[in-house]
Amino acid sequence: LTATGAGAAPGAGDAPAVTHTEDVMGTIVSFTVVPGGLPATAVRAAVADACRVLHRADEMFSTWKPDSPVSRLRRGEATLSMMPAEVADVLELCDEARTASRGWFDPWAMPGGVDPTGLVKGWAVERAAAVLRQAGAAAALVNGGGDLAAFGAPGPGARWRVGIRHPWRPDALAGIVEVQAAIATSAAYERGAHLLDPATGRPASGVASATVTGPSLALADALATAVAVGSDEALAAVGALDGYEGYLIRADGSEADTGGIGFVR
């Protein structure tokens, strides 16, 4: 565990935005918090509480840690009734995501037993953001390794602006969207270079990048995973959901979106 990068950055409102980065869940989670009227000490305490939520999620849901509750569940050494309540909550959300994605997100179809990994990071980051909101922060953006949860406004009349990583051009963004609550991107590049077509340098699978926005990062995370697997069919499922929008870049570079994702450009 390291907690580095704490410091202040320019922001809107009475007090400057507070930034913090936390090494957790196998990634770096970064916080940008607009305090509003919240005293600096309270902001620090809220960020620490939010980090505890993330670490607790990691302890419960890591499939890399053999003694985590989920690992024991996967091996059949424990039943759901023996799990922390959050495990049942997450599996309930997984079931909802499976239905919403028309089966393209299915933790129960994973080898080695139920694997909620595709939803857990978004769920945890969403909860971390909720801790900051409940503490009274005016606004915040929590970036969990590329899955982001937000609330409030970064400044008067402003909205959180989030770039979408371009799947094969590091000097470009695929787009920029204004985010009110959640955005998640799932991409072939996360799965390793062996999926890249050596002739083109592009991912060999049908989907290069899948992005979903919506009110819940847990569901957006799961749906982005679904679109990365199910391509246009899964994108259609996202478009049918109230409040959720999707953006797909296929491996051949062609694109589709659900129309309402709100690209700034």
């Binding site: 770096i28 963004l173 690209f263």
Partner: protein, 176 residues
């Protein structure tokens, strides 16, 4: 709806005229290559039928717009072109393969260079990965910074540490 790749090194971004060059780890000038045009020459246009089918209420956005990438050479250089040249170094951040600290140079509000001032890696494999990753990170961070955005969806965690260090360096210079 075919969207051209969005090169955010654009004079259209208020306050940031774009970045014209980076320094490599060794400090040798490494100008960012100007984009050579759409990267998706082989890409087929998105099928309108599919895009429409994906939306519950039809197509709602960005009708008929195909944007060409802006080039670094297209930056106007107006905002922040004048002003003192200042440099700051961000804190060392975990970047996945070790720790990294980013030094950034601005003229006015315009980032004109970034380099890695501290880099420690855990093992030879990591050093090799770092050597490949850092030029990419320079470009990624450039894209993020010049677009005046708050984060990047889908960005690897490696770039987050780099980004954090760079953001902190910019904060020291009162450039957000």
């Amino acid at each position: 709806v075919q969207r051209a790749p969005l090169l955010v090194i654009s004079g259209a971004v208020a306050g940031f005229a774009g970045l014209i060059g980076w320094h490599s780890m060794a400090g040798a000038p490494a100008p960012l290559a100007a984009p050579a045009g759409p990267a998706r020459a082989a890409g087929k246009p998105a099928q309108a039928g599919k895009a429409a089918a994906a939306g519950s209420s039809g197509h709602r956005g960005r009708a008929g717009t195909t944007r060409q990438p802006a080039t670094a050479g297209g930056a106007t250089g107006a905002a922040g072109a004048a002003g003192a040249v200042r440099t700051a170094t961000g804190p060392a951040e975990n970047f996945g393969y070790g720790t990294i600290a980013v030094r950034v140079t601005v003229r006015g509000n315009r980032v004109i260079a970034a380099s890695v001032s501290i880099l420690s890696t855990l093992e030879p494999t990591s050093q090799q990965i770092s050597g490949q990753a850092i030029p990419i990170l320079h470009s990624e961070v450039l894209a993020a910074h010049s677009a005046n955005i708050n984060g990047v969806s889908g960005a690897t965690y490696t770039s987050q540490g780099y980004y954090q260090s760079l953001q902190a360096a910019l904060a020291k210079l009162h450039v957000s």
